[in-house]
Amino acid sequence: MNELVRRCLEGDVRAVARFITHLENGDRAAFAALYRLKDHAGNAQVVGITGPPGAGKSTLADKLIAEFRKMRKKVGVLAVDPSSPFSGGAILGDRLRMQGHATDPGVFIRSLASRGSLGGISSATHAAIRVLDAAGYDIVLVETVGVGQSEVDIVRVADTVVLVSVPGLGDDIQVIKAGIMEIGDIFVVNKADRDGADKVVREIRVMLETQAQLRAGNAPAGGPDTLVAREPDMLHHAGLVPRTAGTEAALPPVLKTIAETGEGVPQVAQAILTHFEEWKNSGALAQKRLDSISWQLRQFVQHEISIILEQPGPAGTTQELAKKVLARKTDIYSAGLALLHEVFKEGAAHESTQA
């Protein structure tokens, strides 16, 4: 495993690919080896690309890769697609639109199946981003499934979130869904040659202005119903970038593209790089990294606990305690505490064997 990690750090493509597979399979040795890296992470800009199916995310990613390659930046891509809930298998079709870059040694594209994680952003995805970062990629694009939870999860892993919409998908609701507006750092209206593109741009801008007004403590121009309640840490993310409320320039950019032809894409690439610079300068990036690492630590602990719970000892204890509760010999609270003690004991025992 250490040999594999060493080769990853050297940028050996096969090693990186293999290592990601280990992470996907939940190989604890792989996670341990990764988390032991102290010096090799934190340079890459992680860009999340999210939006509804059919928005053209992969096509946009394909063109963005070309732009970044012109600047001689190395690009890693993680493209997540949903696993079938019936068979557990998946058809991973995003790569197809980026295959033109297959033989460019400065580009690494990996398709990942969500494998049951609701949003597709699992600890494996997070870890894979770290691997690509450590292997020397300057930009890591993470393309998500694009519905529901994944759009929210992308915030955890991305420095810059690019939210892609497309005109004519039936409703404006896609733009004002809970939490969505808060997470976008750059808004792209793709397929801008279609009818309604300008309307979508306008709607997004209104939402962004309203948001800014609210944060500044003013009533939104469109009335309180134009916004939907959201989780505190979503606001936290949006609030990380100090923006002067009310001025056009301070609002996140809303850009039009026709990804198919590449029109508008250089501007998006530039906006992505600019966002990163602003973040670094404002200290917001450091804060974000801190939050991200805290989250990873919590994930790590939760993951370890769930593995311990699956061990024969604790699993057996869980069963016994459950029977006791059912037979009314004890209550869930007491039983839960007992189980927690056992988990800690197991964890400590496990730790000493690891050291």
Binding site: E24, G26, S87, A102
Partner: protein, 134 residues
């Protein structure tokens, strides 16, 4: 966590008939595998590069244009060059039986001709994947 078999389904060369490739991709998905489909007009270099980045266990090459004797061995050759020849490679499409010994001698593990049920291909993959399933 369970290990999934990852398969790359590719269309080498200029042949545009993708009915079979798409049917096998779906069948493999329904059998619990993760399938990456490369799309049409792939060079051997593109196929091998993708296979390595995706760290697949298997490559399936589909071709109906008669160019298999040239393109299939080239894929295997490139895999060897890049140290990835533990990847299982199989072929399908319009491939005369008399070409199969040659293809096998060049490293193609099996060729599934017209009419092969998808279940046979699935069994073959499960039985012959070269990396441990743990």
């Amino acid at each position: 966590m369970e290990r999934k078999i990852r398969v790359l389904i590719a269309k080498p060369g200029l042949d545009g008939h993708d009915r079979g490739a798409k049917v096998i991709a779906r069948a493999l998905r329904d059998a619990g595998m993760e399938v990456i489909y490369t799309g049409l007009r792939q060079t051997p270099e593109q196929i091998v590069s993708a296979a390595i980045q995706e760290d697949v266990d298997v490559i399936g090459l589909s071709i109906l244009s008669g160019a298999h004797n040239h393109l299939f061995p080239r894929v295997v050759e490139l895999l060897k060059e890049r140290g990835a020849d533990d990847i299982l490679v199989f072929g399908g499409g319009v491939i005369p039986e008399e070409d199969i010994p040659f293809l096998k001698s060049k490293g193609i593990a099996e060729v599934f001709g017209p009419g092969t049920p998808t279940s046979r291909t699935i069994e073959f993959i499960r039985a012959n994947v070269r990396r441990p399933l743990v």
